[in-house]
């Protein structure tokens, strides 16, 4: 197991993995979110090649109301 930070919370995942895999492992079902890793935007096209490693910080954001 490795530890990563998902939306500000420490979370254990089974191993280092790409963004597609972590989304599946964390059970994100609803589409329409965007991802940043360590403060940098990760486009959908690069999910496969972006590896989440120990202590990485991942943000998964979705549409909400805004002013």
């Amino acid at each position: 197991m490795i530890e990563v930070i998902v939306n500000g919370k420490r979370t254990e995942i089974s191993r280092a993995m790409n963004v597609n895999e972590i989304i599946k492992e964390l059970d994100y079902k609803v589409k329409g979110f965007a991802v940043a890793v360590n403060g940098t935007f990760v486009a959908i096209a690069t999910y496969e090649n972006t590896i989440i490693r120990d202590n990485d910080s991942i943000e998964i954001l979705a549409p909400v109301q805004g002013g």
């Binding site: 329409g32 954001l61 109301q65 002013g67």
Partner: protein, 273 residues
Amino acid sequence: MNEELGMRNEEWEIGGKTLSSRLLIGSALYPSPANMEDAIKISGSQIVTVSLRRQAAGGTDGSGGNQFWDIIKSMGIEVLPNTAGSHSAKEAITTAQMAREVFGTNWVKLEVIGDQYNLQPDPFETVKAAEVLIKEGFEVFPYTTDDLVVAKRLADVGCNIIMPWGSMIGSGKGLMNPDNLVAIRKQFPDLQLVVDAGIGKPSHAAQAMELGYDGVLLNSAIALAQDPVMMADAFRVAVEAGRLGYKAGTMKEREFASPSTPTIGTPFWHQFD
């Protein structure tokens, strides 16, 4: 009646789009998503601001976020994602990039907060982020103060739109420094200028439009009204009135009273008195 008058619903261009409404409206703080939808519809607004927040695993975050987004998508209006909550250029840039993917627009309301107490924008980080985002193809709608020099810097880095505040976000205090807003209008006759934040009453919106601003952006004034839908209607009318007033050309202020009723033939006046 609008068509008969021929002066309302005048088209204007912002961010590469031709629109008729000059009222930009926020989507937050309404009593319910249905109320938000009704308010947006009656406001006539064609641009609605939206945002991004952390998504919980498994489905929704329980805040009705998906229902909200489904409603907005169904309305066929332009969305203007904001970078609210950003405290640095880096955070704002990343948020804008994420928003472009999620919302499918290159528009971004650039918001970099410099002080948590009054939510005043950080001018240095805002300019820095605007420069990067414009190079990346974004149409940047920067939220800024009413400081003329900051507006100049934003224009220098390529902003076509500048959105100075009327007063603090959510304060409802109206236009704190109309003279500053006028100075920005005079310096930038060709940019699209929108008063963003601080508007609390329809009269504030009308005042901004009378100053020659191209539009107003507000949220709390409608969403926190006792009747948001009626208030949205009031703002629609106020923005139209202010715009028409500006175009019609207001009279010059005078230092002394001047009667409007003709003095010739005034009754009960005697020449021999």
